[in-house]
């Protein structure tokens, strides 16, 4: 009775919702309406106001003007707790849990099962937590601190927490940005079940194919204003992108959605990066990689295959148990991130919140942080040069901020990612290790990032690209090295870098016709030739 096509009264409706931050109008008279049982896509460029709308709906921010109707009655949540009590449950953009507390305690924080004396019943809590999480494909020790879980599993805990309460509306702000394909499937299953129960979903994502798979309707935000709302199936992809970016459909078609030129030819020079027989206990098992100047090498594999760990090991962020790394023929002697940076290796880390961004510092300082030695003379920083570099990157990456002096913590999620990317690009490295470079970045900027990577490669930079976005991996790399359980199990070159070949290589660690599967020899000399 709660099918999406039944003309139902909206469960959640806003009118004239406005929210102003110093220097930006984040929401401008937003009218948004959500029907019971529907999955509603909320899309827009980085900084368009999606997360702000969600935060206003759930009592994190107070709106400056406008009204909110929930189940036909006005609602003015003053805190997230009010919104939760009313029946609006939310997964916020970044994984927002408490890392030091146990998995179970995170799941039940604020609604712990109690015994007759009113004390928390940990036995029941752990049993229930285990059962609940198993439904989401997460089988872990629920007594262990949340921190010990991978990002994807943490995101599943957040999902379980949001869905487990008795909600009428579940809001998901980029829930899949740190999920593996299998986890994405689990999420979609959960969404299906919720909708059968008449629960409405608000779904934010920059991955368009996901939107077309799960959502019925769409609302497009641009610069804080609603520019379109309607059925999603009737809206062609190009038109959707054009609406988001505020461009003509024709222009979008001409420019294409991915900007890797695919016409680069790596020089036959000596490799700029040689990593030989890298070993990190339990994580990396004898990985050998060679990257030539101008080459983009993709690293494929599943969660736990050791992609992130390999990148970290190369960049000196993980202690090596064995192996050598050299840049342009010069071996790195000291194993530390500082030595790696000096040697010319930059790593864009996967977890920007924990390992990258300094939220209290300005956009300018965040970008200049690592490049300061390069931008200074005799230990003195040249402010003019810093300003110039910062201005260039803010423009090229279309970083949306009130100005270079705005604290990065105030930027939208995608713009934070761009700042981080700018930091490592500003270093002018010889080797760039990119771990999920376009996570949470909108389609327009994604193309810009890809073009930038392309340009840098043409200048002789060697790039190692890790991405769970297969399309990006395939279009971006001329060679993909496939990892499994921390070891190299295959390699695809040139023409053979196709989606099918890659999936097959990942699946059974043996390439289809035309590829040369490399056996995972115990000695670990598998790798490029």
């Amino acid at each position: 009775m709660t099918g999406p096509d039944a003309p139902l009264a909206p469960i959640l409706e806003t009118a004239g919702l406005t929210k102003r931050f110093p220097g930006v109008l984040a929401l401008d008279e937003v009218a948004f309406s959500l029907r019971p049982g529907e999955a509603h896509a909320l899309v827009g460029e980085n900084g368009a106001g999606k997360s702000t709308l969600i935060k206003v709906l759930t009592g994190v921010y107070r709106p400056d003007a406008g009204s909110l109707l929930f189940q036909g009655a006005p609602l003015r949540p003053a805190t997230p707790l009010d919104a939760q009590r009313a029946g609006i449950s939310t997964i916020y953009q970044e994984v927002n849990l408490v890392p030091l507390m146990s998995v179970a305690r995170n799941l039940y924080l604020g609604r712990e099962p109690k015994n007759r004396l009113g004390l928390i019943d940990f036995g029941r809590m752990h049993a229930e937590a285990e059962r609940t999480l198993r439904e989401y494909g997460v089988s872990v020790d629920v007594r262990a601190p949340l921190r010990t879980l991978g990002l994807g599993a943490q995101q599943m805990v957040a999902l379980a927490r949001a869905v487990d309460v008795d909600a009428r509306v579940v809001i998901m702000d980029e829930p899949t940005s740190s999920l593996e394909p299998r986890e994405v499937e689990t999420l979609f299953g959960v969404i299906g079940r919720l909708r059968e129960r008449g629960i409405a979903i608000v779904y934010v994502s920059h991955r368009l194919d996901e939107l077309y798979r799960v959502c019925d309707r769409v609302t497009v935000l641009r610069d804080g204003r609603v520019v379109h709302t309607g059925a999603l199936a009737e809206l062609p992809r190009l038109r959707l992108v054009a609406l988001m970016l505020g461009r003509e459909v024709e222009q979008v078609r001409r420019e294409g959605l991915t900007r890797f030129s695919g016409e680069r030819t790596a020089s036959a020079d000596e490799p700029v990066l040689v990593a030989e027989d890298l070993r990190v206990r339990h994580l990396v098992d004898g990985v050998t990689l060679r990257i030539r100047p101008g080459e983009i090498v993709g690293l494929g594999g599943l969660l736990g295959a050791g992609r992130t760990e390999t990148a970290k090991a190369i960049a000196g962020a993980l202690p090596l148990d064995g192996g050598r790394v050299s840049v342009a023929g010069v071996p790195l002697r000291r194993r530390s991130t500082a030595a790696a940076i000096r040697g010319g290796i930059s790593l864009l880390p996967e977890d920007r919140k924990a390992e990258g961004i300094v939220p209290g510092l300005s956009v300018r300082d965040n970008i200049a942080l690592a490049a300061l030695p390069r931008l200074s003379r005799f230990g003195l920083v040249s402010e003019r040069r810093v300003d110039r570099v910062v201005a260039t990157f803010m423009e090229r990456l279309r970083i949306k901020a009130a100005g270079p002096h705005q604290p990065v913590g105030e930027l939208s999620g995608g713009n934070q990612q761009k700042v981080l990317l700018a930091r490592w690009l500003a270093l002018h490295p010889k080797v760039l290790l990119l771990d999920e470079p376009t996570r949470g970045v909108d389609v327009g900027a994604k193309a810009e990032v890809q073009r930038l990577i392309d340009e840098l490669a043409a200048d002789g930079l060697g790039v190692l690209l890790i991405s769970s976005d297969l399309e990006e991996l395939i279009e971006g790399s001329e060679r993909v090295v496939v990892l499994k359980d921390g070891a190299v199990v295959g390699e695809l070159v040139g023409e053979d870098v196709t989606e099918d070949a890659l999936l097959a290589a990942i699946a059974d660690a043996a390439g289809p016709d035309g590829t040369a599967p490399v056996p995972a020899a115990p000695g670990g000399e598998a790798g490029s030739g």
């Binding site: 849990l97 089988s139 986890e183």
Partner: protein, 341 residues
């Protein structure tokens, strides 16, 4: 684009989305070291001391040591809650002294006023700390530094610039509360154990306790998860103030007078005890039982130095200081190891 289902079928399910194996073993060991390290050291010190001095492990000495430790322990209990939320309370030493002077002054009107007056005054200071920290988002360090000065001034005013010493009337029930005992163990020891029992229950087994950990672990996330952050902070500072005032009153009864120089730098001892007991100074992780062990360790070291006799008691501070450094270095080492694992 229907590529996702294909991938899903191809996934190796056994990995379960958790961190790689092998991390959990090291994790468990470092968690154990964090939690019980102080206890192991305490047992070792007590063993060695008992074997070296036959005057140490006697009922008389142990009871005196325990009663002596009780006052600091009560203060450290409140401090534990504050530190787990990621805060700090520098005012407890002054509040302790103020509580003592007020108790001694009020004891002329009976036992009940002798307990209520200091506790009420301390509660008011704790409440002010809590309100300022929770509502204005001022740094706890600054707020409680100010109230530390304020409380000390108040105490000097009450005691006529420290010239007036109030005596607790001989034979009063108030005096008996701190000086009496049962089965050869002083009442303050029972009181302290009861308070720690309650504190432990509150921290580990109630929703409030969970919110204390959550606020210290990740304040923003806690707020998004519906934790009442401001109320939680207010409560811990209020508790800390109340406990410090009560400990001061009990101490005045024990000494028979309100001594104005007491409580000086006591906040530092309390913080040291809490940290030695395994509570993270950055918040989010900690145990009341650890703080009790931390207090005992500090007091036993003091006792040992007294027993040696030839060493000046100043060395007690040197030893405590070295100990603290060792613990903090170990903590940093352990947490860094864990982050990498």
């Amino acid at each position: 684009m229907a590529r996702t289902p294909v991938t899903a079928a191809a996934v190796d399910v056994s990995r379960g989305g958790a961190a790689p194996a092998g991390a959990s073993g090291a994790e468990r060991i470092s968690a154990l070291a964090q939690r019980h390290g102080a206890l192991v050291v305490l047992v070792a010190v007590v063993l060695v001391t008992s074997l070296s001095f036959d005057t140490f492990f006697t009922g008389y000495n142990l009871n005196r040591l325990a009663v002596n430790a009780a006052f600091l322990a009560i203060v450290a209990l409140g401090m534990t809650f504050v530190i787990i939320t990621g805060g700090i309370d520098l005012s407890v030493g002054s509040v302790f002294a103020l509580g003592g002077v007020l108790a001694a002054w009020a004891s002329q009107y009976g036992t009940l006023p002798a307990l209520l007056v200091p506790v009420a005054a301390a509660g008011a200071i704790g409440l002010a700390n809590g309100l300022l920290v929770a509502r204005t988002r001022l740094a706890p360090f600054i707020v409680t530094l100010a109230s530390m000065l304020g409380a000390r001034g108040l105490m000097l005013a009450v005691s006529g610039e420290g010239n007036e010493t109030y005596l607790v009337p001989q034979g009063s029930a108030f005096l008996e509360l701190a000086q009496g005992g049962l089965f050869g163990i002083g009442y303050p020891v029972y009181l302290t154990l009861a308070l720690f029992g309650l504190g432990g229950l509150l921290l580990r087994r109630t929703g409030f306790g969970q919110s204390v950990y959550a606020v210290g672990g990740n304040e923003d996330a806690a707020a998004l998860m519906g934790v009442r952050v401001a109320r939680t902070k207010l409560t811990v500072y209020l508790m800390s103030g109340l406990l410090a005032g009560f400990a001061g009153a009990l101490n005045a009864a024990y000494l028979g007078s309100g001594v104005t120089i007491l409580g000086f730098a006591m906040e530092l001892d309390a913080i040291a005890a809490v940290v030695i007991g395994g509570t993270l100074l950055t918040g989010g992780l900690g145990y009341v039982s650890g703080s009790l062990v931390g207090v005992l360790l500090l007091k036993v070291i003091q006792n040992v130095i007294n027993l040696i006799g030839s060493l000046s008691s100043s060395y007690q501070q040197v030893v405590s200081g070295l100990f603290l450094i060792a613990v903090v270095v170990a903590q940093t080492y352990l947490s860094r190891r864990r982050r990498i694992g």
